[in-house]
């Protein structure tokens, strides 16, 4: 019987080889899409709909925050479609769940790519890192991947605001200029290893060199929710301020332990460190006392038209939802993509490549307060802005954060990428 198997195998191989192995591309020279009216279209665009994709985490560690963003994005496009949509078409969102698994993210991207014109969001560090190069090869717009500096290597990636490194640099500048730290002081940086925390640390280190301070780094993982040992080490080193690039659970522990050890120094967190439910934990009083945050995106409570609109949409869509930075972020991301789609429509090229090109022509984009300054996406390797919002914990403000103002410090300006 062995012969039979081998014969079958050999036959299969021969068939595969013989079957017209051509190397002449019949499409060569011709563009991908067909011209519909005066707008060229490609994947994901029909005469009446534009489909955009969201690859997010609805069953893994970031499920809750991700669901808020899905709700808000959906609400945004529903309203947009009521008002006439984009380019005479409705915008539809195709949502898929990668569960924070890069393998699933890559496979789902492959399944989505032929049906969408752009990716509204790929949530998560490892997942977006896996999808970004593929999307780049396909010339596909990719937004909503967080603020890691590594995204600035990709022409197709639209970073929503500035990078974690610029946040980190601004945090040092703010500590020095507003919170009374001086040359020679030490700043602790407690961070998640990875594209988020380590990026923030790079910014802080640059700023510390510029301003003559010293950084005391403490690396942690998302599993660490008891930061006693880290706080003791920081206290031993005599730090006068702490920068945190981690998640809400770590912030609560850090603030609580610092208060219990009598360390009365300011804590400055990156965007993802804070969640309003923290104020109800035992760390609440300590946070109200000492917590500040530097964010690329406007906090929930900011009184600017863009953020007010986001709040109004969200409260209608989910009256009992958590009031975090995810709400303005999702609105802002949808707005960025809508702007690119509209521009691509005006240019007459609504293919995926056309959307990326339109995004890269965007300069001086006003977001009505969702971001701290107008945004400029014309330079791939430069962040669209270097200004961040500074807020502090507040028991009265919705979402638990009260905006103090904006910052673009000298070391944030001098930080170089690449």
């Amino acid at each position: 019987m062995k012969h039979r198997t081998r014969t079958t195998l050999a036959l299969a191989g021969t068939i595969a080889l013989l079957a017209a192995c051509s190397t002449e591309d019949p499409d060569a020279g011709g563009g991908g899409g067909s011209a519909e009216g005066d707008v060229e279209t490609g994947s994901g665009v029909t005469d009446d709909t534009i489909t955009v994709g969201m690859l997010t985490d609805l069953s893994g560690p970031f499920a809750a925050g991700a669901a808020v963003q899905v709700t808000q994005t959906q609400a945004f496009y529903d309203r947009l479609n009521e008002e006439g949509g984009v380019c005479g078409r409705d915008v539809e969102v195709e949502v898929q769940d990668h569960g924070y698994d890069p393998q699933r993210a890559v496979s789902l991207y492959r399944s989505m790519a032929p049906n969408i014109v752009a990716l509204q969001q790929v949530l998560g560090g490892p997942t977006s890192a896996a999808v970004l190069p593929l999307a780049e090869a396909d010339g596909m717009y990719l937004g909503g991947h967080g603020w890691a500096g590594v995204a600035l290597e990709y022409e197709n990636a639209q970073i929503p605001g500035t990078t974690y490194s610029i946040e980190g640099a601004n945090a040092v500048d703010y500590l020095v200029d507003e919170l009374g730290l001086a040359e020679g002081d030490k700043i602790g940086v407690v961070y998640f290893v990875g594209d988020y925390g380590s990026n923030s640390l790079e910014g802080a280190q640059h700023a510390a060199e510029e301003r003559g301070l010293e950084i005391v780094p403490q690396e942690i993982t998302p599993r660490d929710t008891d930061l006693s040992a880290q706080v003791s080490a920081l206290q031993q080193a005599g730090v006068s301020g702490v920068i945190l690039a981690a998640a809400p659970a770590q912030l609560a522990s850090l603030a609580g332990v610092m208060a219990s050890q009598g360390m009365d120094v300011p804590i400055v967190g990156n965007t993802p460190t804070f969640g309003p439910s923290l104020l109800e934990t035992t760390a609440g009083p300590a946070l109200l006392e000492n917590f500040y945050t530097v964010t690329s995106i406007a906090p929930y409570s900011l009184d600017e038209p863009g953020v007010e609109e986001a709040r109004e949409l969200y409260e209608a869509a989910d009256p009992d939802g958590e009031l975090g930075w995810e709400v303005p972020l999702a609105s802002a991301q949808a707005r960025l993509l809508t702007t690119a789609l509209e521009r691509a429509c005006e240019e007459g090229d609504l293919t995926p490549e056309g959307v990326v090109a339109a995004m890269r022509q965007t300069s001086d984009l006003d977001t009505e307060g969702l971001f701290a300054t107008p945004l400029d996406y014309t330079e791939v390797t430069e962040p669209p802005t270097r200004t961040v919002y500074v807020s502090r914990a507040s028991a009265d403000a919705p979402g638990g954060l009260e905006v103090l103002g904006t910052v673009e410090g000298p070391s944030a300006q001098s930080y170089t990428f690449g």
Binding site: S59, G60, P61, F62, A63, A64, G65, V193, V216, P217, Q218, E219, I220, T221, P222, R223, D224, T225, D226, L227, S228, A229, Q230, S232, A233, Q236, A237, P248, A249, L251, A252, S253, G256, V257, A259, S260, Q261, G275, S277, L278, E280, T281, T282, A283, A286, E322, G324
Partner: protein, 296 residues
């Protein structure tokens, strides 16, 4: 010096909590031969019950419900799933527990969301100071309680009929069975005990200095695996000692990271496993594990 002592006290108290978890691994393993990968989600279930019930029924009643709930969950997992495996061996049982873990964790993650649920313990964020060392009150209580629990365990195993039956079943199931010990009962007792210990550990792990319950709490059980392994898979004493070693080594590695910079950053994560591998190189069956009789 007081810095060293503070880190040491931190490490010891954390190590005792790890010991509670590791002892659970040992008891389940010796009583039913199962490598309990769902231990973390049982722990999280117990702590979660306490967090949601402390408001309506009060903290102490919630603690009782949480401990009983985790114990019951363990017994149910054993009775409904483990004992009905198509093929009973440690490999399939371990994978079964992975399936149970995914099931429980997915549901708990859905319920908890991105909130951090406070545990509402009366000791709050208090600290105690003695001899220049500052330690969170919750940790001091945890350490004291762990010692008491270990004492009770010793009494149970050494002085009570049920305990002796469990030890006999663990040492040689077939012989114990011949002598009239009901292995289903010792198995159930083992799972209940492990679940209760996990819930107690969970309550303290979710207390200050941690902010409360988050799904990542389930991962802490994995941190107890090196403690279990280096202590010797089947030794309760080994699990306790292993917990202490891992707790202290981790705390010192984090506390003196700046002096150990040449080893790379993020030592706290890798050091427990490095210590475990080193111990196994010298003693393949762990510090207190039974040497296998077979010599080849």
């Amino acid at each position: 010096m007081s810095y060293f002592l503070t880190q040491l006290a931190n490490g010891l108290s954390y190590g005792l909590i790890l010991g509670l978890i590791a002892v659970g691994f040992v008891i389940v393993f010796t009583s039913t031969g199962v490598l309990n990968f769902a231990h973390g989600s049982v722990l999280l279930t117990g702590a979660y019950l306490v967090a949601v019930l402390q408001d309506p029924i009060g903290f102490w009643a919630a603690v009782l419900v949480g401990i009983a709930g985790a114990a019951l969950l363990g017994v149910l997992i054993n009775a409904v799933l483990v004992r009905n495996l198509a093929e009973a061996n440690p490999g399939t049982a371990a994978i079964l527990m992975l399936g149970v873990d995914i099931l429980l964790l997915t549901e708990l993650t859905r319920r908890i969301g991105n909130r951090v649920l406070p545990i509402g313990a009366p000791w709050g964020a208090d600290v105690v100071t003695f001899g220049g060392i500052t330690l969170p009150t919750s940790r001091a209580i945890a350490a004291g309680l762990a010692v008491v629990v270990f004492g009770v365990l010793w009494f149970l195993f050494a002085r009570t009929g049920a305990g002796v039956a469990m030890r006999a079943a663990a040492a040689d199931g077939d012989t114990a069975s011949l002598m009239g010990i009901r292995l289903t009962r010792t198995g159930a007792a083992g799972w209940a005990l492990a679940g209760a210990l996990a819930a107690i550990a969970g309550i303290f792990l979710a207390s200050f200095p941690s902010p409360g319950i988050a799904p990542t709490l389930a991962l802490t059980a994995f941190a107890a695996i090196p403690a279990w392994v280096l202590g010797g898979f089947d030794s309760v004493v080994g699990a306790i000692v292993g917990g202490l070693i891992i707790g202290v080594v981790t705390a010192l590695a984090v506390g003196y990271e700046s002096d150990l910079h040449f080893l790379g950053r993020g030592l706290g994560e890798v050091v427990p496993y490095a210590v475990m591998i080193l111990v196994l190189l010298v003693r393949p069956s762990g510090l207190f594990g039974r040497q296998e009789a077979v010599r080849v």
